[in-house]
C-alpha cells in the first residue's frame, strides 16, 4: 500500500490510538473502558501502522516482540493476583492503597496485565498473518 497520505498519517494515528488506549485502560474502573478494550485499541493502532509502513517497520517501531509483550502481560497479571497472598488473602483478591483522591491497587496492575496480554496476542497474530501472505 503506497499511499502517501496513509503512510504519513499513520504515524500520528498510531500515536493517537496508543494514547487513547492508555486513557481507556486507566479510566476503565469507573467509566466504560478497561484492559480488554484498551488492548484492542492499542493493537489496532499498530495494525494500521503495519499496513502503512509494512510489518518490518511496525515491528521495529514496537521494539519488543509482541509475543514477549503477551507473556509479560500474563506475568504481570499473575503477580498482581498472587500479591494478595502476601497479605494472607486468597489469590486475586484486590489490595488497595488510597492516597487522597488517588486510588492505587493490585487490581489496576491486573488490568494492565490484561491490556498487555491482549495487545501482544493480537499483534502476534496479525503480524504473522501479514508476513505469511
Amino acid at each position: 500500500m503506497n499511499s502517501l497520505i496513509l503512510s504519513v498519517g499513520a504515524r500520528f494515528l498510531t500515536a493517537l490510538f496508543l494514547l487513547f488506549s492508555l486513557f481507556v485502560l486507566l479510566r476503565g474502573h469507573n467509566s466504560p473502558g478497561g484492559g480488554f478494550i484498551g488492548g484492542l485499541i492499542g493493537a489496532a493502532g499498530f495494525v494500521l501502522y503495519s499496513f502503512a509502513a509494512g510489518v518490518e517497520a511496525a515491528r521495529q517501531a514496537l521494539r519488543v516482540d509482541p509475543r514477549a509483550i503477551g507473556v509479560w502481560g500474563m506475568a504481570i497479571a499473575v503477580l498482581s493476583g498472587l500479591a494478595s497472598a502476601l497479605a494472607s488473602l486468597d489469590p486475586f483478591t484486590g489490595l488497595w492503597l488510597i492516597l487522597a483522591d488517588l486510588a492505587l491497587s493490585t487490581v489496576l496492575v491486573f488490568d494492565i496485565g490484561v491490556y498487555l496480554a491482549v495487545f501482544g496476542a493480537i499483534l502476534t497474530l496479525v503480524f504473522a498473518l501479514e508476513e505469511t501472505l
Binding site: 474502573h29 497479571a77 491482549v118 496479525v126 501472505l133
Partner: protein, 747 residues
C-alpha cells in the same frame, strides 16, 4: 524369567506355588470351627465408600467348601504341573497365570460385596483366557481361548447389569444383607435381575445353550483343564446360583429355567461324552453333565435337593480333577489320549491305573465312594422337586451314561491286551501321581466317613448360606428306599450301555450329526458381528466433515427441541416501538443474508462486518457500552484479518446438491428456531437478579469501582479473566506456530 531357555529352571516356582496354596488351604481350614459353629468370618476394606462399595470378604459354609476345594486342589495341581511341564521354557509364566487365577477364584467365592464378586469374576475370565491360550503358537488354542473369554465376559457384562439392579432393588451391595433380607422375589426388578444373573451364571458354567466353549477350552494344557474345568472356573456359575438362591430362588421362573437348562445340558453332554474318542474331550463333556446336574438340583427349594447339589459339587471336584490328571499322565506316558489306541497300561502304570479306577468308582456312583452318596442324594433331592418324574428321568439317564463313560475310562486304557503306543508306556513322576492319588483316595475316605468329615461343613452351607432349616444326612446306607432302587436301575442301564456301546454309537451318531453345531454358529455369529462393525463404520464414519457436523447440529436441534417441548414454554411476544431498533435489526439480518450465498469474498466480508456492527449497535441500545466497544474493535480486527487472508484464498463456490441444501437448510432453521424459542421462554420467566444485585451493591464498597462490568472482570472474577487470558494467548501463539511453520504438512 518367563522366557528362560534353560529347561527346568523355573521348577522351583511350581513348588513354591504349591506350598503357598497349601498354606492358604490351612488358613481357610482354620476358619472351619467358627463357620461350623454358625459364625461366618468377615473382613472388609473401604474401596469406593461414596458408591457404597467395599472390598468385603466373608467365609461362610458355601465359601468354605469352595475355598477348601480351590486351594487344596490348587496345591496338588501346582505340583502336578511341575512334573507335567516343568521343562517348558515358559513354565514361570504359566505358574504366574495359574496362581493369579487361583487368587481370583478365591476372591470370587469369598467376596461379600456384589461388586467385589464381579471384579473377581471378570479376573477369572481374563486369567482363564491366558491359561487356555497358553499354547499361543497354536491358532486353534488362540481361537478357543478367545471364544471362552468372549462368552464368559459377555455373560459377565450381563451379570454386572444384574448386580447393579440387585443393588438398586436391595438398597446396597452387601451380600450378607441382601441374603438375610426379605429376598428380591417380589421386587419389580426381579424379572430383569433373574435374566441377567442367569446369563452370567449359565455362560460361566457352560449351561445349554452356552455349553460349546467348554470342550473347546480343552486346548489348554492338561493341568489347566484339571483345575479350571473340575473344581473352579466352571463352578463359579453354580457357586453364584447357590449363593443367590435365598435372594432369587424359589420362584416358578427360577425353577423352570434352571431345571430345563440343567437337564438338557446333563443329558445332551453325557450322550456326547460316550461318543468321544479323546479321553480329555470325554472328561470335558462329563464335566458339563455334572454342571448340568448341579444346576438342575439348584432349581429345587427343598433341603434334599440343595444338599444333593452341594454334595455332588464336592464329589465331582474330587473325581474330576483326579481323572483329568490321570489322562494327562497317560498322555505323558504314552503320547496319546485316543481311547482306541490305548490298552493294557495297568502293568506299566500301576499307580495311575489305581487312581483311575478309584476315581471312576466315585464317578460311576458305586459304594463305598462319596460318589454313591452323591448319587443317592440326587435321586432323593430330585423326588422333592417340581416336575419330579422328568427330573428323575433326566438324572437317571445322565447317571447311567456316566456309569458307562466311567467304565470306558477306567477299563479301556488300563486293562485288556496291550496296544502299541507312540512312546513306550512308563509311569509318571511322583509329582504327577500325588494329585490323582490323593484326590481319588479322598473320594474313598470321605465316602466311608461321610457324615463325620463332611456332615458339619455341608450342614453349615445349607443352614448358613442357603438358609435351610437343616441338611440331609450323608449316609452310605440310607435304607431300602426309592433312591436305592433308582441306583440299582442306573447301574443296570449303565452296564448295558457299556457292553452295547457300539450299538449305541450307530444309534446316536446320525442324530448327533444332524444337530446344528453351536460352535459353527458361534463362528458365523462372529463373522456377522465383524461385518456389522465394518458396515456401521462405513455408514457412520464417512470421513466427510460436513456429515459429522450435520449429525452434531441435528442432534442439537432434537435435544433442544425435545427439552423445549417437554417444558411447555410460555412465550409473551412484545414488539418494540423504536423504529431505529427495527432498522438496526433489519440491517443486521440483511448483512447475514448477503453472507449467506454470495460468491464474492469481499461481499461476504462486508456482510459479516455489517452483522458485527449491527450487533454492536444493539449492545449500545441495551446499555452495554463496554461490550459494544469491544465488539466494534474485534469486528474491525476480524474484518482486517479476513481481508488480508482473502487475498490469498480461493473464491467461494456453492457445491452442494439441491437435496443436501434442503437438508442443511432444514437443520439450520430448526436449530435457529430452537434458540429463538429458548431465549423467549427464558425471558418470559422471572429473572433472578441476586448476583447482579450483589455486584451493584458491593462494586464500590468492596472494590472501589464505579464501572461494574470492569470490576467484575478485574476483581470479583479476576481468576476467570486470568484463565481467559491464557486461552487468548495460547490461541495466538498456536496460530503463530501454524502460520510460521515451514514446509507442507502431511499431504
Amino acid at each position: 524369567m518367563a522366557d528362560s531357555t534353560a529347561p527346568g529352571i523355573s521348577r522351583p516356582f511350581g513348588y513354591t506355588a504349591s506350598i503357598l496354596a497349601a498354606l492358604i488351604l490351612v488358613g481357610i481350614a482354620l476358619t472351619v470351627p467358627a463357620v461350623v459353629d454358625g459364625r461366618p468370618v468377615l473382613f472388609a476394606l473401604d474401596w469406593a465408600p461414596s458408591l457404597g462399595i467395599s472390598l468385603a470378604f466373608m467365609v461362610d459354609g458355601l465359601s468354605l467348601i469352595f475355598g477348601l476345594l480351590i486351594s487344596g486342589i490348587g496345591s496338588l495341581i501346582f505340583l502336578y504341573a511341575t512334573g507335567y511341564m516343568g521343562n517348558h521354557p515358559q513354565f514361570g509364566r504359566f505358574v504366574l497365570f495359574l496362581f493369579a487365577f487361583m487368587v481370583s477364584m478365591l476372591g470370587l467365592v469369598l467376596a461379600r460385596d456384589l461388586i467385589t464378586l464381579f471384579l473377581f469374576w471378570e479376573l477369572t475370565s481374563i486369567t482363564s483366557y491366558l491359561l487356555i491360550g497358553f499354547d499361543h503358537d497354536n491358532p486353534r488354542a488362540r481361537r478357543n481361548a478367545l471364544q471362552a473369554m468372549l462368552v464368559t465376559a459377555g455373560g459377565g457384562l450381563a451379570l454386572l447389569a444384574g448386580f447393579i439392579l440387585m443393588g438398586t432393588a436391595a438398597g446396597g451391595y452387601d451380600l450378607a444383607e441382601i441374603l438375610t433380607g426379605p429376598g428380591l422375589q417380589d421386587s419389580s426388578l426381579y424379572g430383569p435381575i433373574l435374566v441377567l444373573v442367569l446369563l452370567g451364571a449359565f455362560t460361566k458354567s457352560a449351561q445349554f445353550p452356552f455349553h460349546f466353549w467348554l470342550p473347546n477350552a480343552m486346548a489348554a494344557p492338561t493341568p489347566v483343564s484339571a483345575y479350571l474345568h473340575s473344581a473352579t472356573m466352571v463352578k463359579a456359575g453354580v457357586y453364584l446360583l447357590a449363593r443367590l438362591h435365598p435372594a432369587l430362588g424359589g420362584t416358578m421362573a427360577w425353577s423352570v429355567t434352571l431345571a430345563t437348562a440343567g437337564a438338557v445340558t446333563a443329558v445332551l453332554s453325557s450322550v456326547l461324552a460316550m461318543r468321544q474318542s479323546d479321553l480329555k474331550q470325554a472328561l470335558a463333556y462329563t464335566t458339563l453333565m455334572a454342571l448340568g446336574t448341579i444346576t438342575m438340583l439348584l432349581a429345587g427349594a427343598h433341603s434334599y435337593a440343595l444338599t444333593a447339589a452341594v454334595t455332588f459339587l464336592i464329589v465331582h471336584s474330587l473325581y474330576k480333577a483326579s481323572l483329568f490328571m490321570v489322562v494327562g499322565a497317560v498322555d505323558h506316558g504314552t503320547g496319546t489320549r485316543e481311547v482306541e489306541r490305548l490298552g493294557g497300561l495297568g502293568r506299566a502304570m500301576p499307580v495311575t491305573a489305581a487312581a483311575a479306577v478309584l476315581a471312576c468308582l466315585s464317578m460311576a456312583g458305586l459304594p463305598p465312594m462319596i460318589g454313591w452318596i452323591g448319587k443317592e442324594l440326587i435321586y432323593a433331592g430330585a423326588a422333592t422337586m417340581t416336575g419330579a418324574p422328568l427330573v428323575i428321568a433326566a438324572a437317571v439317564t445322565a447317571n447311567a451314561l456316566m456309569f458307562a463313560v466311567a467304565g470306558i475310562i477306567a477299563l479301556r486304557p488300563f486293562f485288556g491286551a496291550p496296544i502299541a503306543t507312540p512312546h513306550v508306556p512308563h509311569e509318571a513322576p511322583w509329582q504327577m501321581l500325588a494329585g490323582p492319588t490323593v484326590l481319588a483316595l479322598g473320594g474313598l475316605v470321605v465316602g466311608v466317613l461321610a457324615q463325620p468329615l463332611l456332615g458339619s461343613v455341608v450342614g453349615s452351607a445349607l443352614t448358613g448360606s442357603l438358609l435351610q432349616d437343616r441338611a440331609a444326612g450323608l449316609h452310605l446306607w440310607a435304607g431300602f428306599n426309592e433312591a436305592f432302587v433308582l441306583s440299582i436301575l442306573t447301574f443296570a442301564i449303565g452296564a448295558m450301555l457299556y457292553t452295547m456301546r457300539d450299538r449305541f454309537a450307530t444309534l446316536v451318531d446320525p442324530v448327533l450329526r444332524s444337530m446344528p453345531s453351536l460352535d459353527a454358529g458361534w463362528d458365523s455369529f462372529l463373522d456377522w458381528f465383524r461385518d456389522l462393525a465394518a458396515w456401521q463404520t462405513r455408514v457412520l464414519q464417512t470421513g466427510r466433515l460436513t456429515g459429522y457436523m450435520l449429525a452434531v447440529f441435528a442432534v442439537t436441534a432434537l435435544a433442544l427441541g425435545a427439552t423445549i417441548l417437554h417444558g411447555r414454554p410460555v412465550i409473551m411476544p412484545e414488539l418494540p416501538r423504536s423504529a431505529f431498533l427495527w432498522l438496526t435489526v433489519g440491517f443486521t439480518a440483511a448483512g447475514a443474508v448477503v453472507a449467506l450465498n454470495t460468491h464474492s469474498r469481499i461481499a461476504a466480508i462486508a456482510g459479516i462486518g455489517t452483522v458485527g456492527i449491527g450487533v454492536a449497535v444493539i449492545f449500545i441500545f441495551a446499555g452495554a457500552p463496554d461490550v459494544a466497544t469491544t465488539q466494534l474493535m474485534v469486528e474491525t480486527l476480524s474484518a482486517v484479518m479476513f481481508a488480508i487472508a482473502a487475498l490469498r484464498l480461493p473464491g467461494l463456490v456453492e457445491r452442494r446438491s439441491r437435496q443436501r441444501q434442503l437438508a442443511h437448510g432444514a437443520v439450520a432453521l430448526a436449530v435457529g428456531l430452537c434458540v429463538t424459542v429458548m431465549v423467549l421462554s427464558v425471558t418470559a420467566s422471572p429473572l433472578d437478579r441476586t448476583i447482579t444485585q450483589y455486584f451493584e451493591e458491593n462494586s464500590y464498597v468492596l472494590a472501589h469501582g464505579l464501572n461494574i462490568v470492569n470490576v467484575v472482570l478485574v476483581d470479583f472474577r479476576a481468576f476467570d479473566t486470568f484463565g481467559e487470558l491464557i486461552v487468548v494467548l495460547l490461541a495466538s501463539f498456536g496460530a503463530y506456530a501454524v502460520l510460521k511453520r515451514k514446509g507442507r504438512a502431511g499431504a
